[in-house]
């Protein structure tokens, strides 16, 4: 989609492959529906939700947010390097994205194991069902994204990506920023939202 207007030096465009934005848009709408559904269940169970919320490790959650923000930053810089044909900068920036993705996965795994060790499972109560479901689906998104970033990192060694060949990395980057922004909402929703 390219629209050229008189005032702009460069035309308006969506990065990457057009279709990936349908996927991103759909994912955003689906998660919005899930947030609404979570709040509906919370309306019916405020005491349970608050008590369970307090058992979550908000420090870990906050650190997870910083990890994903840093990951997005690294990937955004990688795409910028591609636009400027700075091919030798690309691998380490993409690797930065992948490694921080792995750090998030490790952190979440630790958090889940801690819960299981305390006998807490998705079946324990509606809050924990939502906690495991929302963070679990998000975690699947992170695993997929980290795998894609790893693939891009390997391909970048061979100088595959430059200003003329960046549709795939831009698409992956856009997806990765989606993953980051979903966590930006999920973390306060589950960990920080105090009861009245």
């Amino acid at each position: 989609m390219v629209v050229v207007t008189a005032e702009r030096a460069k035309p308006r465009r969506l990065p990457g492959v057009d279709g990936v934005w349908v996927f991103i848009g759909a994912d955003l709408v689906i998660f919005a529906i899930l947030f609404l559904s979570f709040m509906q269940d919370r309306l019916k169970n405020p005491a349970t939700f608050e008590a369970s919320r307090q058992t979550l490790n908000m420090h870990l959650g906050g650190i997870d947010t910083l990890i994903l923000l840093t990951s997005s930053w690294s990937v955004a810089l990688a795409v910028q390097a591609m636009k400027r044909d700075q091919i030798d900068r690309e691998p380490r920036l993409l690797l930065g994205g992948a490694v921080t993705g792995l750090m998030f996965v490790a952190s979440k795994s630790i958090e889940y194991f801690e819960k299981f060790a305390h006998g807490i499972t998705p079946g324990t109560n509606p809050f924990y069902m939502w906690y495991f479901t929302l963070t679990g689906i998000h975690l699947i998104h992170v695993v997929v994204g980290t795998s894609l970033l790893t693939y891009l990192w390997v391909r970048s060694w061979r100088g595959t990506y430059d200003h003329l060949h960046r549709a795939v990395p831009e698409s992956v980057a856009s997806y990765w920023h989606l993953v980051d922004l979903l966590w930006i909402v999920l973390f306060p929703l589950l960990y920080l939202m105090k009861a009245v």
């Binding site: 279709g19 349908v22 759909a26 689906i30 529906i33 899930l34 559904s37 269940d41 069902m129 689906i137």
Partner: protein, 262 residues
């Protein structure tokens, strides 16, 4: 089909119909494409509305509650399920029309068009058999122990929900091939292709249904029901719309290349 004469020069060949490998029965092709929306309309109305599956009766219900549900709704469920059992076949017919459009992109020997057709056809099986279980439950509830009715209820849901990967294969095949379309204006646009990927992705979490009876992942929950079913419900008519148009475009391409019946 071999003759001694060179087929290009024999008098019979010049007015011979060039039928292979292109289907020239464009009318049947479009009728089959219509089978998709017809299936959806029948399934939505009969299974969804009449038999009260939008949303489904709670997985958390006790055997007595399930039996009471089937006794109370006996006639609507019997009508809805018997019509669905029959109409499920339209999904198979629809999948053939899609496969033939896919073959125009990957060639008549293409693999993905066959996967699509198989996936679409086998999808009928869990739909038909699950409807048969629920039809039986409604038909027989008055004679059955509540635990047996409960079992039939769950058998239907476990089957219809967990056999999703045949449909996933169908959807993936469609998206993969239509992404490879080299036409300037693709036969099926990006939005529909990527909606297919959204639908594909939405099915996986449904695997949780045996393990939960409440919450978003239960078979009546926001994720396993509302999102998983409605992404698929939206995929069917949106793809169908572009398949109809594709048949017309292909017919025009065939005419321009001199490949139609005289």
């Amino acid at each position: 089909m071999t003759t001694d004469a060179d087929p290009g020069t024999s008098p019979a060949a010049t007015d011979a119909r060039d039928l292979w490998p292109y289907p020239t029965d464009y009318t049947s092709w479009k009728i089959l494409a219509w089978c998709g929306p017809v299936f959806l309309a029948a399934f939505f109305c009969m299974w969804g509305l009449l038999a009260r599956n939008i949303p489904p009766f709670s997985p958390n219900a006790t055997p007595d509650e399930v039996k009471a549900h089937f006794l109370e709704l006996r006639l609507p469920i019997m009508i809805g399920m018997s019509v669905c059992l029959t109409m499920a076949a339209f999904y198979m017919a629809w999948s053939v029309s899609i496969a033939k459009v896919m073959e125009r992109i990957e060639g008549p020997g293409g693999l993905w068009s066959k996967v699509e057709m198989m996936g679409g056809t086998i999808t009928c099986a869990p739909l038909m058999v699950a409807c048969a279980f629920w039809l039986t439950a409604a038909h027989e509830a008055q004679y059955l122990d509540a635990s047996v009715v409960h079992m039939l209820y769950w058998m239907g849901w476990l089957l219809i929900d967990l056999a999703y990967f045949v449909t996933s294969f169908q959807i993936a095949a469609v998206s993969v091939v239509f992404m490879r379309d080299k036409r300037e204006k693709k036969l099926v646009p990006h939005a529909v292709i990527w909606w297919g990927w959204v639908t594909f992705a939405s099915f996986f979490v449904v695997s949780a249904i045996p393990f939960v009876t409440t919450g978003p992942l239960a078979f009546n929950g926001v994720i396993s029901f509302w999102i998983a079913f409605f992404t698929w419900f939206f995929w069917i008519p949106s793809l169908s719309f572009f398949i109809f148009k594709a048949v017309d475009r292909i017919k025009a391409e065939d005419e321009a290349a001199g490949r139609v019946n005289a």
